[in-house]
């Protein structure tokens, strides 16, 4: 803020990216996509009883995906539900983010079988994964806050195109999991 103190008052200096990020993160309205047990913990977060998401900007859970920014996939996604999930995601307008809440949404959880999609990232691009079975409401709020940080740092325009290129290059050159040496090596 050093420069702003030297010029006549009434000016704030910032970047367009920071301003856009600040506005987007502070008014992140979730879309209701509660499926199973995690949905109940999500309801506990959404209701103003003890853990309140409204104080972080998620004032109201929009039922219509066209009015929502954040899709919290809370619960296990079965094979029958996957096309519905994709359709709801497509109906959201950009900018949009996806939070995979719980072990079942992140990776299929304890249900490694014919009926459950092993991680919703097979269906929609996920921005933040939240483990837990079910995660405590505080964990969900923590994930949303981390997502806020991620959102406030997103680049726009030319910078964004560059970031996308870099990320893609890194992903193409990355070592696949089965070639990595973990603690078993």
């Amino acid at each position: 803020m050093g420069l702003e103190e030297k010029i006549p008052s009434g000016f704030v200096l910032t970047t367009v990216e920071k301003l856009a990020g600040y506005m987007r993160k502070n008014s992140l309205w979730p879309a209701t996509f509660g499926l199973a047990c995690c949905a109940i913990e999500m309801m506990a977060v959404g209701s103003a009883a003890k853990y309140d998401i409204a104080r972080f900007g998620g004032e109201v859970f929009r039922a219509s995906p066209r009015q929502a920014d954040l899709m919290i996939v809370a619960g296990r996604v079965s094979n029958k539900m996957a096309p519905v999930l994709r359709q709801i995601y497509d109906q959201m307008s950009a900018p949009k983010w996806v939070l995979a809440m719980g072990a079942c949404a992140s990776s299929g959880g304890m249900f490694n079988n014919y009926a459950i999609v092993q991680g919703v990232d097979h269906v929609v691009p996920v921005d933040i994964y939240l483990p837990g079975c079910p995660p405590r409401p505080e964990m969900l709020l923590d994930a949303i806050l981390k997502l806020h940080e991620q959102i406030s740092d997103t680049k726009l325009g030319v910078n964004r195109a560059q970031v996308i290129k870099e990320v893609e290059l890194a992903a193409l050159n990355a070592k696949p999991t089965h070639e990595m040496k973990g603690l078993l090596a």
């Binding site: 509660g34 209701s47 079965s78």
Partner: protein
């Protein structure tokens, strides 16, 4: 009639053309239906909807505001839990079963464990303290489940205030659960043979305080809704289903009790020592949504009564075992309160690792292989907040279940949607479904 459409095939029946709605091109399907003479509108209240209580799909055929046909599409939460349990040991089955009806996890666990204990033949050997703890946890669970039912039911009908009060009271119960079992939901606390571990210090005081607080707080919701003219207009006379309808559809729980029939398995076919408690079976005789709402509100008070009696009993049974005495079956969890929550008791570890080889082998085999359950079939039913929850278990003598099937009350009760709402208005189907209180995890398993 266009060429065969794999997403909306139709066939002629005696009642006209019947379409199988599977998704895909909605427009093509509606076009075909629109070719009929009547002004019928087909509305799909899809699986993602704020008011359908979970991933339930309602396909409604409307004529103006009146519903002429209502069909439920379920299966959007099918998890294959029953098949998955065939590859896990009997004790691990508890963790799967808990996640079926996720609003009443302890009820699922109890039904499963009672059935396993029946097959093992140890129903009488389950210690009394374990049974009392089971009853207390189930009644606490009944309160938290009814709170969600009331809160979300009111929310779906447009009242937001009751939702906040309901979830606030639910937090009281969840804190008690967290203190006793370590988790707020899906606790896997009740195991075949007893419960996982005893109540920690201070649990009984916390429960007593919680009961006092809840008694005071339940009045908030009651004053908001009972006698509220808007609420009564929206719930009285809606979702009518009389006794004949209930018995032929196999409906149990608050829906059956709203017809006036005092059918409660806790009184009539008691389990876990329920015959030793004083409580009333709450009924209503209006057969409508308002009656079921009143039943749920009054059942909260009855549950509080039972919990108080349980706490008094537990004080007298201080120090009694909570797992069956047979060491070949009892889960060897010797847990103690550690720095980060719960951990293994150091004494137990010292014994199995340091002192006795046989203890180590025993512990190992019990945890990895599990116990064998003699072959046979058992069906045990308990009264869950939604109705009769039955566990039908087949064993082939091995360490894993051969077949586990849960007769979930929500699966049966949802079949009543058509009977309750056809002929009524669209806004009333929400109330009817909310009064059935289906939990889709239980419906689809």
């Amino acid at each position: 009639m266009t060429t065969f459409d794999p997403y909306a095939p139709s066939r002629e029946t005696t009642e006209g053309k019947v379409f199988s709605v599977t998704g895909g091109d909605w427009d093509a399907l509606v076009q075909d239906i629109g070719a009929t003479k009547e002004e019928r509108v087909v509305v799909n209240m899809g699986p993602q909807h704020p008011s359908t209580h979970g991933v339930l799909r309602l396909v409604l055929e409307l004529e103006g505001e009146t519903i002429t046909e209502a069909r439920c599409g379920i299966g959007y939460l099918h998890t294959g839990i029953e098949k998955n349990m065939e590859y896990r040991s009997w004790t691990q089955g508890t963790t799967f079963v808990t996640r079926m009806d996720y609003l009443g996890p302890l009820h699922n666990e109890t039904a499963y464990c009672l059935a396993v204990e029946k097959l093992l033949g140890i129903t009488d050997d389950v210690p009394e303290r374990a049974s009392v703890i089971r009853v207390m946890m189930m009644e606490l669970n009944r309160i938290s489940s009814h709170m969600v039912a009331l809160g979300t039911g009111a929310l779906e009908l447009g009242a937001m205030g009751p939702m906040f009060f309901a979830f606030r009271d639910r937090e009281t119960v969840l804190e008690i659960f967290e203190m006793i079992t370590g988790l707020r939901m899906n606790m896997a606390y009740i195991r075949p043979g007893g419960v996982q571990q005893d109540l920690p210090e201070g649990a009984l005081t916390k429960i007593r305080d919680g009961v006092k607080l809840m008694r005071k707080n339940f009045k908030d919701n009651a004053t908001l809704l009972i006698g509220n003219s808007i609420w009564m207009k929206r719930t009285q006379g809606i979702g009518y289903l009389d006794l004949a309808g209930c018995t032929t559809l196999g409906i149990t729980g608050p829906v059956l009790r709203s017809t006036g029939m005092p059918w409660d398995l806790r009184k009539l076919q008691p389990y876990c020592g329920y015959e030793n408690y004083n409580f009333d079976v709450v009924t209503a005789d209006t057969c409508d949504v308002y009656g079921r709402f009143l039943i749920r509100m009054n059942e909260l008070e009855q549950s509080l009564r039972i919990i108080e009696q349980c706490v008094n009993k537990l004080e007298k049974l201080e120090g009694a075992p909570v797992m069956v005495a047979d060491k070949k079956i009892a889960w060897p969890a010797q847990l103690a309160l550690g720095g980060d929550g719960l951990g293994n008791s150091l004494d137990h570890i010292r014994q199995i690792m340091g002192t006795s080889m046989e203890s180590l082998i025993h512990h190992f085999k019990l945890v990895t292989e599990g116990f064998h359950v003699p072959a046979g079939q058992a069906y045990v039913a308990i009264e869950s907040p939604r109705g009769e929850l039955g566990a039908s278990i087949v064993s082939d003598g091995g360490t894993k279940p051969y077949r586990v099937h849960f007769r979930e009350p929500s699966f049966n009760n949802l079949q009543a949607t058509a009977a309750m709402s056809e002929g009524g208005m669209v806004a009333d189907i929400i109330g009817a479904v909310a009064s059935i209180d289906p939990v889709m995890g239980g419906v689809d398993r």
